[in-house]
Symmetry: D2
Subunit: 193 residues, 4 copies
């Protein structure tokens, strides 16, 4: 059984994966496209992990601040961001549950456990019209966050995304038989007036 291709772009191909699950490009793409962040945006990331999402965000936006409480993950993320040649990332060695300094950010991307516990802090840090988006490992985590978000945000939605790769040959075309069924549930919440 052939391993599926995750379609990592060149800027991720040399990066080293550490312990935590990375945010796959297909899911990073949804975050970018659904929130409308662009080259003028300022974003925060809660949980640097291996830095894969840090890189995917920093490649697009003006500035990324990323919090990570574990030194070894932060160092891995720093190395990976450096390999990708990106210089618009600020790293903070910080437990997100100790508070968020930033204000008026366009997006908080969240990849930590129990993000629902800081839903008010996230809401406060986001500008009106901005988004919170989170990578959730299971439906229980997504549900807890979604329900907490509905109390302070106006537009909340939860989804997952399946990409099917095709075998295309002159004599016949069909999806590949085996593939990546699931990566994460993604929760989105927009701060409205």
């Amino acid at each position: 059984m052939e391993k599926p291709d995750f379609h990592f772009p060149a800027l991720l191909k040399k990066c080293k994966r550490g312990g935590p699950a990375v945010t796959h490009p297909k899911d990073a793409g949804l975050v970018i496209a659904y929130t409308g962040i662009g080259k003028d945006s300022v974003v925060m990331e809660l949980g640097s992990g291996s830095g894969f999402m840090t890189i995917q965000l920093a490649n697009i936006v003006k500035h990324v601040t990323t919090y990570e409480k574990r030194k070894e993950f932060q160092e891995l993320a720093m190395q990976n961001v450096k390999k990708a040649g990106l210089t618009n990332v600020e790293f903070k060695l910080r437990d997100v549950f100790e508070g968020i300094d930033e204000k008026e950010v366009d997006l908080i991307f969240c990849d930590v456990a129990e993000p629902e516990k800081i839903i008010n802090e996230m809401h406060n840090a986001i500008r009106i019209g901005g988004f919170m988006s989170a990578h959730c490992l299971n439906i229980e985590q997504a549900k807890a966050l979604h329900l907490a978000a509905e109390k302070v945000f106006k537009e909340v939605f939860t989804l997952d995304c399946l990409v099917k790769d095709y075998d295309v040959r002159e004599f016949g075309t069909r999806p590949k038989h085996f593939g990546l069924m699931h990566t994460a549930y993604m929760v989105f919440a927009r701060k409205s007036t």
Copy 2:
């Protein structure tokens, strides 16, 4: 039966849709994430259509040049790009089959019929390591392009993407019963040394 939410970001919400099918955010997200384009990238679009993809690209990258042969579509795209407040787009009223001026672009995004007929022209216009990506309305179109691309590009892949929205309530969580099953097949090809 409730109409599904396509999750258009704010910069698309006021835009007017014309005749042609637009590139949905979920598919635009894949293009951005898989090709690794970012704020330093220069991209070309073949087929401005209503300008929805023009906007999603221009919001991310340094510069977009977009070709459209039909005056009424170009005008619609221009209006929509203006509404979105983007100024880094150059419009050319041009049939893509008459030739491509640009060189060394990071990405050509293609949303015209029979793009396989200009596969060499696209290949020539893309820098080494850059991508061609196309929005194909049916599998026959995707197949024709995929097979043509394999002759000149090194890494070619075709896929589609399904996003499932969830109903999340305290008493129960499940995908929404009805939704968007399909938008387009997406073909990607990378130019390697």
Copy 3:
């Protein structure tokens, strides 16, 4: 937006749907195919509902006993089974939580709330090698049943099923744009020695 076709077979087309969600053919098909029931099988159904699954089972197997606690649903199910011309169904007006008489059945199909509370009773009523299968309206219900089943059954699995319909035309083939995203989570458990 065109309503999707659920592909009800002729024997369901004239049946009347009552309040409860029916078990769709695609899910009934999984129950039949994964459990291997056939024309010699004896099955039980917990929750007759509108009788749609009763009919789909009775059309295949030797005998179906079906429990329903609400008189109005039982009557609707009886009418529908009669319309379908099936005579191998025994109806019991009974709350499944008051006990199960049957023994050595090949399959218990379960479409009631909180089936995990009678997991031992279901296990006792099933022959060795036989199956319990359940139609669950949300992931919380499926999870509760799956975890309870793992304590008494040997092989337990939970899944859902997506059927995509295609528009097939000479000039182009693709999935229909809108469709049925989700019906139910299905839990299966096999009783082993």
Copy 4:
């Protein structure tokens, strides 16, 4: 990467797979459920292959006649049907393109190349209200059959089916990361008055 479970029922577990792709239970389930075949049905199979579908049909219906032109496949199918303990199957060593003897069958299940070439013969062999259903290895085959079927049958539809298995644990529930993305396209056609 763990191999996905195809959920073969007990009656298939001991069967030997030969060269040809087998019809998976999830797809067999759709054939049974969408066509409404049951214990009184008479069905024909074109292409015995390894006999996996023969068994899944014979387990349900009154009688199956199955054609196969290759002696070695027929022998494998015969052995598998015998292992499954089924006695209601008639094997014919016959190329389906040489003609079909049977009349008034409830279902023809077709798993041969280029079935569109015998669409009239299939139509003639099916009773009014009965079905043709086919397992197609790629979209080109499905398209050719679908378009040919539309000329003689009244209700034609083409689909595929994705089953997602879940990891269910107390601390978290999500689909398994890798799985079976695709088996076959299925074409259905109903003969109406």
